[in-house]
Amino acid sequence: MLQVSDITAFYGSSQALFGVSLKVRRDEVVTLLGRNGMGKTTTVKAIMGLVETGGGKIEFDAKKINGRPSYETARAGIGLVPEGRQIFPNLTVKENILATAANYRNQAEPYSIDDIMVIFPRLKERLNHFGNQLSGGEQQMLAIGRALMINPKLLILDEATEGLAPLVREEIWRGLAILKEKGLAILVIDKHLDSLFAIADNHYIMEKGRIVWEGRTSSLRDDAEIKSRYLGV
Amino acid sequence: EPVKIGMITTLSTKAAYLGEDIRDGFQLAVDQEGGKLGGVEVELMVEDDGRKPEKAKQIAERYMKKDGVKIMTGIVFSNVAIAVVPKVVRDGVVYLSANAGPSMLAGKGCNENYFSVSYQNDNIDEVVGQFVNDSEHQSVYLIAPNYPAGKDHLAGFKRYFKKEISAEVYTKLGQSDYAAEIAAIRAAKPDAVFFFLPGGMGVSFIKQYAQAGLSEEIPLYGPAFSFDERLLKAVGPVALGVKNGSQWTHDLDNEANKQFVAAYEEKYGRTPTLYASQGYDTARLIGSALKAVSGKVDDLDAFKKALKDANFDSVRGSFSFGANQHPIQDLYIREVIKTDDGQYTNRTIKKVFENHVDAYASECKM
């Protein structure tokens, strides 16, 4: 569904990505792992069209999407939960959810605000609060809810469980499993390896802007050497 | 080597058209002689001061030091003149004012090298003061912006108006909404209103005054500044019938004037304003002096003497310089009319002062 081939990216004059390639298939959960500052988020931004790619190609549903504005990518069916939440501070919770909600590809059962409230009951009590009045975890919930509301085919979660309480985190992992069942493709960046191993199929590890390892869950779970070399655990 | 004349004037900002007219009037005189004045080749340099005193000063400095200019003119605004003139005349430049005539330069601050070819600012108000004083109106409501020129102009009016001043109101400089002042006028019920609100302030005021339905009830009077032909275009019919004071009108019956008005209309396609007439007169005055000294401006004293003789045909008719080198001239009351072809202009209705001398002449020790 998503195919990234050999992309490079720059911030000003410093290069952040040196030829990154990865694939995400339908109803597959793929992770992107690596230490801080290795280029995971940059890869995600490149996919979303938020940083320009120097070379390479990004295809989604067999259509080239790099070089396209980010809104087209989103409409094509990629939903992003960005790192650091980035909810809209000057909109209320309700507005945050509704402002960008859309069913671009006429899905049969689009998400409604009520569905989000079922997933995150906490938000229901805060509907008329401004984004910046929420606790960190509440903001995270909002960011996830907001991404679901555009009814994506591929969901990208960049550290989406940061700051969530253990129970909620479990909830999210369970939720992702269900979404995967429903045919959603998922690309996750997260530090909770054990939880990832439970749901993910494929893993990519990045270092200094390059993919240095890729493989199935089974091979990564047991490879202490790789984990310690690239992830520090 | 042509004689260089440095014109510093206002060609940008809201007041840009004033400078434009002065320049065009001046240029007309030069063009009529084919690039000469008084038979002497001249080079006219023109630069925009943006209505900023320091910028004007900078230009003057360059004219003097870079171009060796000895004759300057063109400044529109009194505050710019006050900033520039004292310095340049000290440095031996002859400055001829084609518009601003601040009292400071007419009285204590007068200078041998400074000539006003236009008027002393108050003249234009004095004539209205005298006219209204002679009329049936018993009380007048005065209105002007809150800055020295505003006060000077009202003082000029009061110098000759001896009846009741119903109120004296100072508004914010650059104000555009006059509803509050107009309501106050309506409540005060004066017999007449005299206002000095130059430029856009006047346009807004006259429009709003008429819209409030007051123009039929309480007549307006003012100096010529709000009634030149280019502003009248913007004010339109609501100014009709308003009487204002001036030293010049395009219908003054003298040869020089007829020729000037026709030539100006021909060249620029618009009726000249009093600023244009001042620019033209300034050029012609310079021409007369250049002729007298055969273009030798290096002999400054001779040149100044020739200027002082004012041996030229002013478009105003009689024109001579007083002791303070400001004009001694006739002053008129005019009325705004609409011509047959739909233009708004002024018509002279009365000569109020003959050979009028300004009030500051006696303070000048030269």
Partner: protein, 248 residues
């Protein structure tokens, strides 16, 4: 009796209809790591904000070293010995990483109305900067503008700046968030190395970290403190399990 560095009594704070703190009372013993846990939006960050002075309590009192600090503004509380990190990263984006750290080092040391000498050349900066950066693994990034760090690197800096100030009571708001799997391990070591010398109030959702570091844990739910005790006690508390821990 235990030696409390900080005592909180009857602290209340509400935002309109939201009661973020309801009659909270607890004490932190000198030298302990005291963890504050609870569901999202329970009011943990609010407690830190009340302690640090960013928010004013509706009622209740805060005693630092047995002195009331309720009325003090933020900066005076810092002088009195409080230091903190933020859950929502709050570094100096326009400054370089080294300058961020230098500022944190200098802040607590004498006044800063010194107009002449280059700040980076001050002795204390020269002595401690390198180590302070190394501690949070940012040595290679010293000259980078902080706003251009990756998210995780920003988090490292955020915590690093709080650590360097040398407060009596250090309040860390989710220091592990964004640190990455390996970073979490490192930071955990770092904090445990501070044990005994610095008192720490730790807000954290990573339960492995909390249970291995904390001497004392308080659990907040809907602004109430529902339990307080040793890690073992808390782990066994069924109310806590239901409200927060789940199967943990």
């Amino acid at each position: 009796m235990a030696d409390y560095i900080l005592q909180v009594k009857g602290l209340c704070k509400s935002f309109g209809a939201v009661q973020a703190s309801q009659d909270l009372s607890f004490g932190i013993q000198r030298g302990h790591i005291h963890a504050l846990i609870g569901p999202n939006g329970a009011g943990k960050t609010t407690v830190l904000n009340l302690l640090s002075g960013e928010l004013q309590p509706d009622s209740g009192s805060i005693l630092l070293n047995s002195e009331e600090i309720n009325k003090l503004p933020v900066h005076k509380r810092v002088k009195a010995g409080l230091g903190r990190s933020f859950q929502i990263t709050s570094i100096f984006n326009d400054l370089s990483v080294a300058e961020n750290m230098a500022l944190a080092i200098l802040a607590g040391r004498g006044h800063n109305f010194r107009f002449w000498k280059n700040a980076m050349a001050v002795d204390i900066v020269q002595h401690t900067l390198t180590e302070a950066l190394a501690r949070v693994d940012l040595s290679g990034r010293a000259e980078q503008q902080a706003g251009r760090l990756s998210h995780g690197e920003k988090r490292q800096l955020e915590v690093g700046m709080a650590l360097v100030g040398g407060p009596q009571l250090l309040m860390l708001d989710e220091p592990m968030a964004g640190q990455g799997a390996g970073g979490t391990v490192e930071l955990q070591k770092l904090i445990s190395g501070l044990k005994g010398t610095t008192t720490i109030l730790l807000v954290e959702h990573d339960m492995d970290v909390v249970f291995s570091l904390a001497d004392q844990i308080s659990v907040i739910v809907y602004g109430h403190c529902i339990a307080s005790g040793s890690p073992e006690e808390i782990r066994r508390n069924s109310e806590v399990q239901n409200a927060y821990l789940g199967e943990h």
